[in-house]
């Protein structure tokens, strides 16, 4: 088991024939992802990487039965692509594109919710179910199969955390990079219950950062509904106020959104909060031992 995606998931790629789309679609196919086609307007009828290209998402869905779309279109066209996917009945859109305007994502997200389509990202590494299905840009070899679920706002920290977990002799069920923009799709509060319900997942690692209050919402939810051990790291304990730390959403406004505030809320909810990012793997082992 896993969450959201597995080896049978049928995936299309929006922005399939572009440079990024081509490179990463190939990497995903090499990993074993069941990519069934792609969409690039005005290139319908072509074959790319051995898969059919369609002009619209609607056509692609009809012809292939795809339920997930991986989106690589440039930032100015992301909202349009997301809304097209939602309109065509896609169930999950994984938005890799970096630099999408916030206003566009606001409209796209509201429409996706209305249409019942889940979204991941934008500006994220994507989602991977270890050794089955990779939908995104992460290095697949780092994710060995195991029993730890992973949710992270940051790309490289996702890899770091998975690597530490694997070095401890454990592995990953599914890892989700949720992105660090001000408006994102699925976040901790939706993903934690999915991992709670997943039989294979025995512990959950969540990686957060300064800015916004998603981690605080997660703490509330964990306290009420999550029984599996959760290990958390919040990046940006040393970040200065009012400065945007790389990610558009990673900013402490006034006294809101600090790492300290989030760490305290999570601790209070019974989460294993690590201060040092080097302690993630070892703490997962400790949490699993305590559970037994």
């Amino acid at each position: 088991m896993s969450i959201l995606v597995n080896k049978d998931t049928k995936v299309i790629v929006q922005g399939f024939t572009g440079k990024e789309g081509t490179f990463h679609a190939q990497q995903c196919m090499d990993y074993g992802t069941n990519i069934v086609g792609g969409v690039t307007p005005n290139k319908g009828g072509m074959t790319h990487l051995g898969k059919p290209v369609f002009n619209t998402v609607e056509e692609a869905v009809k012809a292939t039965g795809a339920t997930v779309s991986m989106i690589f279109v440039p930032p100015a066209f992301v909202a349009d692509a997301v809304m097209e996917a939602a309109d065509a009945g896609i169930e999950l859109a994984v938005i890799i594109t970096e630099g999408a305007p916030v206003r566009d994502m606001m409209y796209a997200k509201h429409y996706a919710v209305k249409k019942g389509m889940k979204t991941i990202g934008p500006n994220c590494p994507g989602i991977i179910t270890a050794e089955e299905c990779k939908i995104g840009i992460m290095p697949g070899n780092i994710f060995k199969k195991g029993n730890v679920g992973l949710i992270s706002k940051s790309g490289t920290l996702t890899y770091e955390a998975s690597n530490q977990v694997v070095k401890e002799g454990l592995g990953i069920t599914t890892a989700v990079g949720i992105g660090g923009d001000p408006i994102i799709g699925l976040s901790y509060k939706e993903l934690l219950p999915m991992f709670e319900a997943d039989d294979e997942t025995e512990a959950i690692v969540m990686i957060g950062e300064i800015g916004g209050d998603l981690e605080i919402q997660a703490a509330k939810l964990i306290k009420e509904k999550i029984t599996k051990p959760v290990v958390a790291f919040i990046a940006g304990q040393t970040a200065p106020k009012g400065k945007r730390m790389g990610h558009a959403g990673a900013i402490v406004s006034g006294s809101k959104g600090t790492a300290q505030e989030k760490m305290e809320a999570l601790k209070e909810a019974g989460v294993y909060v690590v201060e040092s990012p080097a302690d993630i793997g070892a703490t997962v082992v400790k949490a699993l031992n305590n559970k037994k």
Partner: protein, 390 residues
């Protein structure tokens, strides 16, 4: 990106948001000329810097004669203003804004920002105009009235009425306020603003609402579709090293410590600062070299980190994914040929082909380059090196 008050007011006027009349000046005589053209017998001279709290710091002054306007402007220009938002180093005033005096009957606060939890914009109003709004939020949150605006329906009169009643406005004033607030919503949405603050918003003796101050910030990702706003960027207001870094696709923020950091990915870059602190050191900077970490970006990264004289060691923390570690290791070696690095460089490479990378660094046998076992070992060594204990 942020802009100056006078620029925000230019945008306001285009949308019919009332502001006092005014003009920018770069010298005393210019200020006098602006005041003369405005006419009247009361002017306000306002320092134009990207920070709030100017009033308390002496950056906003009243003048009753043209001579006074000129004198105040001359004093203000070139002055370093230190407010709670500038940091202790303050900001040098390079231009002033001269405005006609206003007849103030009441002061309010009105602002707009994205509510990240609700995923929609909120408009906020308060009767505590002229006060630090963060202070109001902390001490008397009930004095801030908020309405969230669902973008599917846009700004409706009921949103404005809710704010108007919250501010205790009378029936006659409401119409005027609704018009003002609706125009402000259009300013926010049309221009991809990230933040608008009017503090204070004033009511005049005649019952008119006027934006006496104006602060605006924009979503950088949307500037491509607002070239006229992108042109308002004032490079004097930004850190020169941060700008230099941006040119090369690097994201750099200077801090006060002495352990330089070079990392790929924003989250890992923050985490690297955190672990340095955790191991007893102080990070000198945030630096995300991006996914590529090629010889050119790494060389530029070294140059930027070393432009800070406080830096006593550098921690290079790269997690190689699709860009393999062996390539990054070669990149680092090449970069050290391009830039003279005279402090210890602790290198931690993990991920794809990490072993090969370690081998490359060991074989290179460069005195200043110290390979680290893992994240913790790297942070420890970098901290020790900065203290001269390695």
């Amino acid at each position: 990106m942020n802009i100056h008050e006078y620029q925000a007011k230019e945008i306001f006027r285009k949308y019919g948001v009332p502001t006092p009349r005014g003009g920018v000046a770069f010298s005393g005589p210019e200020a006098r000329k602006v005041a003369e053209e405005l006419g009247g017998d009361l002017w306000v001279v306002k320092a134009q810097i990207h920070a709030g709290g100017r009033g308390k710091a002496g950056g906003v002054k009243l003048a009753k004669t043209l001579d006074e306007v000129e004198k105040i402007a001359e004093e203000m220009l070139g002055m370093t203003l230190v407010t709670h938002q500038t940091g202790p180093e303050g900001k040098v005033v390079k231009k002033v804004y001269i405005e006609e005096g206003a007849d103030i009957k009441a002061e309010y606060y009105l602002g707009m920002v994205l509510d990240r939890a609700l995923e929609m914009p909120v408009m906020m109003a308060s009767t505590e105009g002229g006060m630090e709004i963060e202070e109001v939020a902390a001490k008397t949150p009930e004095k801030i009235i908020k309405v969230a605006i669902d973008p599917a329906i846009g700004f409706q009169p009921f949103h404005a009425r809710k704010l108007a009643f919250g501010l205790g406005l009378g029936k006659d004033e409401q119409k005027e306020f609704i018009r003002f607030a609706s125009a402000l919503y259009n300013v926010y949405m049309d221009n991809d603003a990230e933040l608008i603050e009017i503090n204070p918003l004033i009511k005049t003796g005649e019952g008119k609402f006027i934006a006496l101050d104006a602060k605006m910030g924009f979503d950088d990702n949307a500037l491509y579709r607002h070239p006229e706003i992108a042109e308002m960027r004032d490079l004097d207001e930004e850190e020169p090293t941060e700008l230099e870094a941006k040119k090369y696709g690097l994201s750099y923020i200077k801090l006060d410590g002495n352990v330089g950091c070079m990392v790929n990915g924003a989250g890992l870059a923050m985490a690297t600062m955190d672990i340095i602190k955790h191991e007893g050191g102080e990070p000198a900077n945030f630096l995300d070299v991006g996914g590529g970490a090629n010889p050119d970006t790494v060389a530029k990264g070294f140059e930027i980190i070393l432009s800070d004289p406080n830096v006593k060691s550098i921690f290079v923390n790269i997690f190689g994914g699709i860009v393999r570690c062996d390539r990054v290791a070669n990149g680092i070696l090449e970069a050290t040929k391009k830039v003279e690095v005279n402090v210890p460089v602790i290198v931690r490479l993990d991920g794809t082909n990490a072993e090969e990378a370690a081998e490359i660094l060991r074989n290179a046998n460069i005195k200043n380059i110290i390979p680290a076992e893992d994240l913790k070992d790297g942070a420890k060594k970098a901290v020790a090196a900065a203290k001269g204990e390695l």
